[in-house]
């Protein structure tokens, strides 16, 4: 394992990686998933299960662990790296139970003044009869409500696929980071293509046109940092995980310095700053009243 990339790659101006290439990299089953990050970056992890209402969703996991010397709440979508694990993890597509568990654990974190770290890695929320019956839309909405008002710092990182409301449900954060080969989109490229052109096979075109790559989203000001992958994360997982850990640590330290966790007035300002952050996202023009 080395940080020094191939000199030819390093001097190359910009690797010609298309948005669709990024999607394929983001979906590579050998790419590190949330549990891999936990394994390398977090000590004494205690997984906490269940939504206290219906079940425990293995597609969205959470618990308390020690990160950067501090006890934090960690939440993340969990994909499998093979078919068997993917069946158990529902391919990282969380059900309402998953979002309700996440929402519960965020309130738990707030109660004990623990920062929240989330790992986003889902093609979207589970679209099935059962999830609809149990209120998928409301479970996501309630998680958004809680995150928008949560009185502890939140750092979210898109580590693979960030697909639609199922991704945003753990993404309303003070800092949003993306790995270089991750993507974040309003709907999966297949879903977007099917909505736009009634043809899911045009997913590569949708990936291109919808500006879903980390660098594009940084330019839009929607995310805060792109974590470089000198080699794609599935080829050099430890380097990608370490760089991610360093980035999260830096942002978390900044947030805690600006909004100390013991200071109630500072935590009010934190929530206000998060409001301002999301309040300002949008693109419109305004004609003066005539």
């Amino acid at each position: 394992m080395t940080d020094v990339a191939d000199p030819i790659q390093q001097t190359a101006p910009e690797a010609p990686v298309s948005a669709w290439d990024r999607v394929k990299l983001a979906r590579n089953p050998k790419r590190p998933h949330t549990l891999d990050y936990l394994h390398d970056l977090v000590a004494d992890f205690v997984e906490l299960h269940g939504d206290r209402t219906f079940g425990d969703d293995q597609a969205l996991i959470g618990g308390i662990g020690k990160f950067d010397g501090r006890s934090v709440m960690i939440l993340g979508h969990q994909k499998g790296s093979d078919t068997r694990e993917n069946l158990k993890r529902n391919f990282g597509m969380a059900r309402p139970e998953g979002y309700r568990k996440a929402e519960r654990l965020m309130r738990h974190a707030e109660k004990f003044r623990m920062p929240v770290i989330t790992f986003i890695d889902t093609s979207g929320a589970d679209p099935t009869l059962g999830s609809e019956e149990r209120g998928q839309a409301i479970a996501i909405a309630e998680s958004l409500v809680t995150m928008a008002g949560l009185r502890v710092p939140i750092v979210a990182t898109v580590i693979g696929e960030g697909g639609s409301g199922g991704a945003l449900a753990i993404g309303v954060a003070d800092r949003v980071l993306m790995l270089e080969n991750s993507v974040y989109s309003v709907a999966s490229p297949e879903g977007s293509a099917s909505i736009l052109w009634k043809d899911a096979a045009k997913a590569p075109e949708a990936a291109e046109r919808m500006r879903i790559t980390a660098h594009e989203l940084l330019e839009f000001g929607i995310i805060d940092e792109v974590i470089a992958e000198p080699a794609p994360a599935h080829e050099n997982a430890r380097t990608a995980i370490r760089a991610t850990g360093q980035a999260i640590s830096r942002h978390l330290r900044e947030l805690i310095a600006a909004f100390p966790l013991h200071d109630d007035e500072a935590l009010d300002r934190l929530v206000a700053a998060r409001y301002t952050r999301f309040r300002s996202i949008g693109s419109w023009q305004e004609e003066s009243a005539g």
Binding site: L129, S164, V172, V186, R209
Partner: protein, 329 residues
């Protein structure tokens, strides 16, 4: 109430939309009801709030039709009407640019965007109102949608009045990419502030309501109402069938299905919405007045002041004819 909305409706007749839905039916046509297949005389339908007199099928309405139907005559004042969409992604496809698409949609629909916001009174009670127009790109939620809703929410807080949203949407606006997704967080965050100000958000789910709108502000309101048989969900039935090959049960994702599964507070037929809205607003106002009176009584004793409190007593410039606080007190 009968014939009420037709009389004050000012919307322009327009062509059928891409899906062939008629948007404004002149009085002298026959319309086939999709609910019972009966032929209905359109005047009869219009006079009945566009609800089939035979089977109570609720026809879809344009936003301005809903506003006219719900609010007191002449009370609606539009807000943020000049916030216009633009093309942050530089989106274009085989059928042209997003700007071109917007222009065609604006011309055809007579609207500049997919929501209309403003303030009005319902049975004399003031409220901020945000209404989706499904004929504008399926009332998809993009930047302007989010911004208008947030501004209306902030204005409601400033004026101390409740907010009602009347929702119909196919989901997020694809052409604005992640900007659209972020409107879910933005709207929900604004509504948190409305709640913190002690002001209610009433949401009405109408046919059809899916995706980003149901997965954000519309379903976490203080009261969630739905029109009879409205289709409401996160993922659409077609997507679910394609992904899971599941056979979906009869009545899946209808308002009645949602009520049965505990997802909405109540189903309100179109002709009852005004009365229900006024009734709910009266309850919140009463509760607020009683609570404020109790705490004010202490102060009043100390300062010898008369106390009048209501949702809109904070509003600096209220029209003189709008309902004052006497009724609630």
């Amino acid at each position: 109430m009968r014939g009420f909305f037709h009389r004050q409706s000012k919307f322009q007749p327009v062509d059928p939309d891409e899906n062939g839905n008629d948007q404004s039916i002149p009085d002298d046509l026959w319309v086939k009801c999709p609910g019972c297949n009966e032929l209905l005389y359109s005047k009869e339908l219009n006079d009945n709030l566009r609800v089939c007199p035979k089977c109570e099928h609720h026809f879809r309405l344009r936003a301005r039709e809903r506003i006219a139907m719900l609010t007191d005559v002449g009370s609606f004042q539009e807000w943020s009407s000049r916030i216009l969409p633009q093309n942050p992604l530089g989106f274009a496809d085989g059928s042209g640019t997003y700007e071109g698409r917007l222009e065609r949609t604006q011309r055809k629909s007579g609207e500049l965007e997919a929501v209309i916001a403003g303030e009005a009174t319902v049975e004399g009670k003031p409220l901020a109102l945000v209404v989706c127009d499904f004929d504008f790109l399926g009332a998809s939620m993009g930047s302007v949608f989010g911004e208008k809703l947030v501004r209306a929410t902030e204005a409601a807080i400033e004026r101390g009045i409740p907010l009602m949203t009347i929702n119909a949407s196919g989901g997020a606006r694809m052409h604005e990419g992640l900007f659209s997704l972020m409107q879910m967080a933005k709207t929900v965050a604004a509504l948190n502030r409305l709640g913190a100000a002690g002001l209610p958000h009433l949401s009405v789910l109408t046919d059809p309501c899916y995706g980003g709108v149901t997965a954000s502000y519309a379903t976490v309101a203080d009261v969630v109402m739905a029109e009879p048989k409205a289709m409401v969900g996160f993922a659409g039935p077609r997507v679910i069938e394609q992904t899971t090959k599941q056979k979906l049960p009869e009545g899946f994702q209808t308002a009645e299905f949602l009520l049965e599964h505990g997802m909405v507070d109540l189903i309100v037929s179109r002709d009852q919405l005004r009365v229900m809205t006024a009734s709910l607003l009266t309850h919140y106002e009463n509760a607020r007045v009683v609570a404020a009176e109790a705490s004010a009584a202490v102060n009043a004793e100390a300062h010898g002041e008369d106390i009048v409190v209501s949702f809109h007593s904070m509003a600096p410039e209220r029209a003189p004819d709008s309902a004052q606080t006497g009724e609630a007190l």
